[in-house]
Symmetry: D2
Subunit: 354 residues, 4 copies
């Protein structure tokens, strides 16, 4: 037997976890709740898939937990549902799922971006976003230069012809801004409701779009839409330009009154947060000025936690601030929201339909 | 009208895309293939969800495309299916899905890590991984120090009691290594087959595990398992320690012969790559020494592309190397594989069952 | 010679790149600009390090390019410098670098978040953020519950005692809001200037903080601070609460007038964008209503591009929208901004000091 | 006063942290170690920058700590330095920094990939990698198809003409493989040493490269290079092809003997881990079969932790396995290694040169 073999033998003991621990299995707390293994089959429902995720770990387990929480949020009568919606979710095809949640009374307040409303309205008046897989000639930079020449805006791999912004401007200037101009400084919530009305009317007249969209559904179901950073969008730029030639103006703060009222009045409060940014924080921070906090919170995000920014922050961090109840049920899923959002909604809908 | 209002008016024209472009919509190539919007309903199947993803963008569209490609890979008789499997997929509950794919003849060759085989075998002989949500007292570091004291290894949020490594060692030394010791320098493929046989035998005798697992399924279905970096694992450490007290030795290169043979013989070749690392590259690089390349390739990964490393590299990059046919169908989904892998398999199974 | 050996030999030819290409090296365009190799030595300056980065690839090359562009932005008299600042940059120690850039006339307009101003002011009136490496007893969730009990807010790994928010409220209600209350609906820019004045005054009186901070420096140097989503912060909540008991109100849109004026007046325009979110987009979108666009743009971000969101979007994408000139110099560095921002500023300062 | 104003007033109390906590500041443990603010100036050294990072948070603080630890690893005579090197660090310009660390006696063992040795050798025999910013005509996919036609391999944004692989093959078959062919099954370490000798000889003869590189430096300084997954690379494919027409064969396990010996003999052991994959795990796992564990560990990585994979795992997790001493000093920097690696080395070299 060589020296090396000796070392091999010694090592063996070491790899056992050390002699001193032999026969002393770790405490029960480290040995419970075994990971099972997911199983899938042809024709299974999305709800069944979500249950299988529950056996597994990492993101799958988080998604299963999120689906359970979201089903409870949707299924209980006493939960007021706040939704924070950020990111390029309209250009990437998530518009109908949000609109249908609103129409089915699953949203009580929507906090979103000016860009979401911009792109929602573009489609409401007949515009389209286009899959832009072809990146064109030359380098990436040259391709974007060419898009510029062609009058096409790029949103990652989606193309948006700029002509739609001209049509948007006409819609806003004829059907939206004038309707609130006489009211003095209006709340953002008031403007977004008027936008929803105009989008709904436009479709009632002409049926230009397959789906009148999020703002229209919210208007028709009396769901307020908050867009605290509305200035930060083409919609906001248009609003500003209109304010230069009219009496129109927007109040930056007054939305908080009705949003906070809603938080005060909620028996139970739930938050579904898709993406980060202002919609996430604004949805959560409401509880800093309310007596209670969220009882349920589900977050779907691709923003990494380790940037330290609010967008990627865990919901546990929100608990330290008092944005979530200490006893709240919460889950964060760190994965592509275009995949997880439809899956979450389908699974939660299945669960409550039973 | 103020100067600012003037500017607002000028700006308006600018936001139209510029006068010179007015009335000249962008070329057809930038206006085709509109993004539709996904819709979900209670009770829909996973295959139906995957179809809805196909209407959308970003990762959802990629996943829909991946499901279509993978269904074709599984459904066509003439496709030889290579699977690269990396990452903590056993500790996180993906073991049964892989084993069932093997049992249903959907895997012709598996390239994986020593760690995958280590954890697969631990479960095959009755061990368990445990959900480790509770991170314990003190700081994170102190928690890991405590786990060390308790004899528990942590894999992200999964706990593995070290006692299982003792049982693994006994299994390897009694049922696996001695069986090949007399054969001289054996290929890694030979060792993994013997491991599969031993795991299957153990379960046939005692039924210690719910599922005999990946290595056992591969053995029983004559599917070779390649683990080119086998030394880089507890299984590899055990193999080395055994080699110190026996004639056992492993050949680092000879697996390539049968793997390359399989690539030569494949009418059509398809690669499903889960995670990055050695399994990804080894699966793909085989085509550098084969006359043809992959006709199909699907990649599920969380490794970011912009590190420049192979793990996150696109499959288009692999095309520049000749690892994929120029005409190959390929899709990469950058999202949590514990979510996307079950979803992909369920959707593809549904499609081919029709 | 076996069959396998034959295959080995065949393969060899294949690995050469194919017979047909032998002797035909790739076109010149694929063979220029070789990657050199960085070299480092004890005592080298940050500017020298940035030059070494220029020899390398991936993020290092981007950082070298960004340093060159930023040096040109700072060094040329005719460049108007817009800075977008998002993320937890104050709690993580970047406050002084921003304040010093302002004091040295390197910032002409700052677009930031309400949170940045909140945390900047907390430090201006004597508060501190604390390194929170110790995550406490119990699970992570339990730790956050405990922080809640202790009255400590967590920002990733930074702790902020809530008592500072009481002091902030006193400061705002005594020294900031009353000063603008009589002016009717004020612009956000007006409020942030008043905040800067109050922070500067407080330090002039008592010298409570080592550095009076960003808002104070901006006030003292006539640099406007835009915070379009100011409502989305504790500062915004305080402003709203004050508006409930006073005539104070904020105009959501009017900032755009002076920001757009600045874009109109700029001979050359440069953007330094740190983090994503509203500050990034608002900084860039200004050019949608200006006759020209950015001539220089540098972005430091950890937001991944492949979410499709604006935060991670490349600056080339911004070119398709006309936010950047087609001929603009631009660079994006995808890495931790607490590392890259000090490095960029030190390297650019070194370059222009020569 | 309206109801809303009342609520505003109530809210105010809530935002104070609650009446019950008023006057009770959080315990000392949550109030110590304040975040300071970094400051930078023209002409500062990299070591000074690293010190400034130490005042800040997130990645900057981690990098400052890493620099301190690495300086101690390099400065103490009694530390045996293990380096794990993965990722595309040669194509991206990090080759000279590694070679110079070896030449200056700062590396005692190097664990790396076959790809690293492949690219190092290509440059050692006169080849070059090229910046590939221009992505060519057509879509990204079409660009890669064109690269394929041109005989150019792409590594993210770096181009490598395939002709270099022909020259590599000639070098390996004339100067490397034959030299060890007669020795029977050789260890990987033996092969990499021979590679280093051949690369050094080639440069001694002809001076074809600016720097003979990593393998050459390791050979000349008696530093062993371990590449446990050597088969997973073009170097490995070449080795396999040569094994088909010769007696050459490689032993998959025997390297562990000398690596483990080194771990046994180390008074203090330190690990610098760049990137993830096999080099990371193999470097760390050695301690599973050694009596002690790493006393120092620094990790530079872009692999995200939340994949659950080993590549992104924290070094604290390694502590639970016993790969790090409980009392070890360790730091992980999650940022682009092409930026952090040169910075770390420059700062550590500065510190020990004083």
């Amino acid at each position: 037997m060589t020296d090396d073999a000796d070392r091999g033998d010694d090592a063996e003991a070491t790899s056992d976890g050390g002699d001193d621990r032999e026969g002393t299995p770790p405490r029960e707390e480290f040995r419970r709740d075994p990971v099972e293994h997911a199983s899938v089959r042809a024709g299974m429902t999305v709800g069944e898939l979500a249950s299988e995720y529950g056996k597994a770990g990492i993101g799958a387990a988080d998604l299963a937990e999120a689906a359970g929480i979201y089903a409870e949020m949707l299924g209980r009568e006493d939960v007021t549902n706040f939704v924070g919606l950020a990111g390029a979710m309209i250009p990437t095809g998530m518009r109908r799922i949000v609109a249908e949640l609103i129409r089915d009374d699953h949203v009580d307040a929507l906090v979103t971006t000016g860009a979401t409303l911009t792109h929602d309205t573009i489609e409401a008046i007949g515009g389209k976003h286009h899959h832009g897989r072809q990146h064109g000639e030359g380098s990436l930079r040259e391709h974007d230069e060419r898009l510029r020449d062609e009058g096409v805006d790029r949103i990652y791999n989606v193309y948006l012809p700029q002509e739609h912004f001209t049509l948007l401007e006409e819609h806003l200037r004829s059907a939206v801004f004038p309707a609130v101009e006489a009211e003095g400084s209006v709340s953002i919530e008031r403007l977004t409701a008027e936008l929803g009305r105009a989008n709904a009317d436009r479709n009632a007249e002409e049926d230009v779009a397959e789906d009148a969209g999020i703002a229209a559904a919210a208007f028709e179901n009396d769901v307020p839409i908050y867009a605290p950073a509305i200035g930060d969008s083409v919609l906001g730029l248009q609003a500003w330009m209109y304010s230069q030639i009219s009496d129109f103006s927007l109040d930056a703060l007054s939305d908080m009154t009705s949003l906070t009222d809603m938080a005060f009045d909620a028996e139970k409060a739930g938050a579904l947060v898709i993406g980060g940014g202002v919609p996430k924080n604004y949805t959560l921070q409401t509880m800093l000025v309310a007596p209670d906090a969220y009882d349920y919170a589900v977050q779907l995000t691709m923003d990494p936690e380790h940037t330290g920014g609010l967008s990627g922050a865990t919901l546990d961090e929100a608990r330290s601030w008092g944005k979530l109840e200490k006893a709240a049920r919460n889950a964060s899923v760190y994965a592509d929201a275009t995949i997880t959002f439809p899956l979450l909604v389908a699974a939660a809908r299945e669960r409550i339909s039973k």
